[in-house]
Amino acid sequence: MKLSTETFREALLEAAKQMEQHKDELTDLDREIGDGDHGINMSRGFQAVQKELEAQTEYEDLGALSKQVGMTLIKTVGGASGPLYGTAFVKFAGAFKGKTEAEGDELAAAFKEATDGIKMRGKSEFGQKTMVDIWTPFYEALEQQTDLHQALDQALTDTKERVATKGRASYFGDATVGVQDPGSLSSALLLRAIVEVLR
């Protein structure tokens, strides 16, 4: 299970496509339990990423690619997702610095660092019905080398049934049970696109 600079770039282009396809779904979910802009924000951010990745096809290493994507997301996403996704990619940039490939423990450690970054930025923990509930089982599956698609599907199912206790969704309390958390869905879209390119 190896990630290279080239395949990471491919995965991010695919993620941009996915965000565009799910734009309305993300926004509708956010309208139910948030402020209704998640699809628009993620689409705007990943469209900007796509534009840059299409303009620049070669990157020095995984770190340089991650850093550029992180800064673009910080500048363009808006809402709470901008600093959260931006921080995840800035953490990738640190973990992947000087590496053109990553696999095994190294790859798992990078995803753990990104997850820790999201937790630090959002002052959140696992189990609060946020994107952390997707990123955590994902890096754990990488560590334990279990099925990554299955880990993401299970994480989405579990998250949907939780009560939101963090962020704006927490104002909706019990009404959030049975409604998917939009940030969790966008995270799963991104991570699935990455799983697809692991060889």
């Binding site: 800064m71 500048k75 808006g78």
Partner: protein
Amino acid sequence: MINLILVSHSEKLAAGLKELLAEMAPDTPVLLAAGLADGSIGTDASRIEETMNELTDDGLILTDIGSATMNAELALELYSGDRSVQFVEAPLVEGAFLAAVLSGQSKSLDEIVTGVKSEFG
């Protein structure tokens, strides 16, 4: 004099607050990092960081809700300038009032942070 940076989702909210502060502490420099570049509602870490580059002295950041705080903390990590800048968690209007008055009395950044924290922390 310690500069204030007001980080708000709304450009109008921040501009209105700046107007209010000028009544109380006309000499305190107040910078704004509010709204998104296209004028819409939101906060943006890179805009906050750019505003930090305009500081004429050390600076204190105050924020309104939710992601404003996340973006302020992220901007502090991105900032590579020479000024000492701190973020303090307090209700934006009340916190900015107190900070502006303390800055007008030529208090240091640490003294202002301590003052705001002891009032609202």
